[in-house]
């Protein structure tokens, strides 16, 4: 009798938990569903569904017209290409270059190291956005405006990621390094052949974070690009949504298309990313 009671109580508790879980999940995912569903509706359908639950359901006249329009008339592919080129230059460089300095600061012993560490820690709390206008002045002097190089290179060295790598490498076992030295490995070789392969989770974190950052950055591309030629996706979406005539379906289609690559990158590196993210608060 008593066990039956507690069993029922437990089942009730479980059900309650799942209701809470699913309600919260809905809050997080509803705007994304709204975006994807609306990208397949006509503007009239979006407006008429706006005030009901139908906004979240793929009902009524569905069409792929918005996507076709976005690709043919809004030239999505041109902006997409720009964003991809910038990411392909930026993300691998960010991942490797900051890992290299993180390794040097965390594992090697050399003159000036402590000064560099203090500098990096100090820099990692400055929001670099504060110096963005004068960064623009530097880029202008170097004739980097309106180019892929100007979009991708200035954000290459990133103090926060250096700090992340530094903490990671500082925690690596020193014995590993000593053993490699005995085996005749150079300090550079230790990084490329031993330490980097052991650092996959942290690299995955930096890849995802820097990709999300580059893909979504709005401020720097606003300053660097002069015309449509080098315009990236966020800039193009902003232009589309502040146009005189607003086509809602097209905006949602554009937004959906531009979210897909981040989704793919996230799926690829998800496991290692979440693993090292859950560690960052304790270590950071």
């Amino acid at each position: 009798m008593k066990t039956a009671m507690s069993k029922r109580k437990k089942a009730l508790y479980l059900m309650l938990m799942y209701i809470v879980y699913i309600f919260v999940a809905f809050l997080f995912i509803a705007p994304i569903i709204y975006m994807v569903v609306s990208s397949m509706k006509t503007d009239a359908q979006i407006v008429s569904d706006m005030s009901t639950y139908k906004a979240f359901l793929p009902v009524g006249t569905l069409t792929l017209d918005n996507f076709l329009q976005v690709i043919s008339k809004v030239h999505f592919m041109k902006f997409f290409k720009n964003s991809v080129v910038v990411a392909i230059i930026n993300v691998p460089l960010v991942t490797i270059v900051n890992a290299m300095i993180g390794y040097a600061l965390g594992m090697l012993d050399f003159k000036g190291k402590n000064l560099l560490i203090s500098l990096i820690i100090a820099l990692s709390i400055i929001p670099t956005e504060a110096v963005i206008i004068n960064r623009f002045m530097v880029a202008n002097q170097l004739h980097m405006l309106n180019s892929y190089v100007g979009l991708a290179l200035p954000t290459m060295g990133y103090p926060m990621y250096i700090f992340l790598y530094y903490n990671h490498f500082k925690g690596m076992p020193k014995e590993l390094m000593e053993a490699a030295i005995v085996d005749g490995e150079s300090y550079g070789g230790i990084f490329w052949r031993i330490m980097l392969p052991l650092s996959k989770p942290i690299c995955a974190t930096v890849i995802i974070m820097s990709f999300i950052r580059t893909w979504g950055d709005l401020l720097w591309p606003t300053l660097v690009t002069r015309d449509e030629t080098y315009r990236t996706l966020p800039l193009a979406l902003r232009a589309l949504s502040s146009d005189v005539y607003i086509f809602w379906g097209q905006i949602f289609a554009f937004a959906t298309l531009m979210t897909i690559p981040v989704f793919i990158i996230f799926l690829l590196f998800q496991k290692q990313f979440i693993q090292s993210l859950t560690m960052s608060g304790i270590k950071g």
Binding site: M100, D109, A130, T222, S241, G284
Partner: protein, 304 residues
């Protein structure tokens, strides 16, 4: 003799490390020097001049003393920008910390499907802020048929102007950031939670603490380091508010959403006043520095 040899070997040893060390630092240090440190120094120097972004012909760059800073301190728009940014941070940071902790506690178990839920809670993070802003601006449509207004109507509340209403605009912008970032902060806090040993809770139960007491007296103190990390990183992130403002409101309505970075962008890039913009950058940097030092000092991270 032997000692000398050893010293020589040690010297070579250090030398190779020094060489590799600086060689490995260079690829990151060069862009950092050129695109962070140099602009930072330029900001300090230019903040005392009347330099323009594009110097007008015949106008020479002059030292103007504290003129830019006096203008900054007396300008109503600038005061509003700093105030708006502070309001935004004060809206976002406590909510992220409280809700993030609650959510992390909620998903810190091994129930079926809980891993999928964590991923779902995290998913807004992969939506770029420009997209977030555009999608939420539709949700906050000001008309009586807007999604949020329709939801209000269900509860018998009056429709609001949201982004067009100075009272609500910053609130809407804050909601967007909270929605996007909460899942990520939840994961970080979850990492901290998983480090707390189950024994502590067992001991708490033995001493007759209820769930709320266990949360307040075991979970929260044990989470201190993680929460301070979330606090500092979220604060810095909120202070650089720009994207939502630039995409949705351009600082309006009536300057209610003008943030510091937006003002800095507008005065430097649009209004051509590089000196003034640099002064805003310097003031902003000092404020951020003070907040970081304060948070670090008062909350003090135990280095474990």
């Amino acid at each position: 003799m032997k000692g000398k040899l050893k010293a020589g070997a040690r010297f070579r040893f250090i030398n190779a490390q020094t060489r590799t060390g600086w060689l490995f630092c260079a690829p990151a240090l060069v862009p950092i020097t050129m695109f962070i440190i140099l602009p930072f120094c330029m900001s300090i120097v230019y903040s005392f001049t009347n330099k323009m972004l594009v110097q007008k012909a015949g106008k020479v760059v002059e030292f103007v003393g504290l003129k830019n800073f006096i203008k900054l301190a007396t300008s109503e728009i600038a005061q509003q920008a700093f105030l708006n940014t502070a309001i935004y941070a004060l809206l976002v940071v406590p909510i992220i910390i409280i809700l993030g902790t609650l959510l992390a506690v909620l998903v810190n178990n091994s129930m079926k499907g809980v891993k999928i839920l964590r991923t779902i809670y995290f998913s807004p993070q992969i939506v770029t802020m420009t997209v977030v802003a555009v999608v939420w601006s539709f949700i906050f449509s000001p008309g009586p048929d807007g999604l949020m207004n329709s939801a209000l109507k269900l509860f018998g509340l009056q429709p609001q102007g949201w982004l067009q209403d100075p009272k609500w605009a910053m609130f809407c912008i804050a909601i967007m950031y909270i929605w996007q970032s909460l899942g990520m902060q939840m994961l970080i806090i979850l990492g901290g939670l998983q480090f707390i040993s189950e024994d502590l809770y067992e001991a708490g139960r033995m001493d007759g603490c209820n769930a709320v007491q266990r949360f307040l007296y075991i979970t929260v103190p044990m989470l201190k380091n993680t929460l301070v990390y979330v606090l500092i990183s979220t604060t810095i992130n909120t202070l650089k508010l720009f994207t939502q403002v630039y995409v949705l409101t351009n600082g309006g309505p009536k300057g209610a959403t003008t943030s510091v970075i937006y003002l800095l962008y507008k005065s430097g890039f649009i209004n051509n006043q590089l000196g003034y913009s640099s002064a805003i950058a310097v003031a902003f940097f000092l404020v951020v520095l003070m907040i970081s030092l304060f948070q670090n000092k008062v909350l003090g991270r135990d280095n474990g």
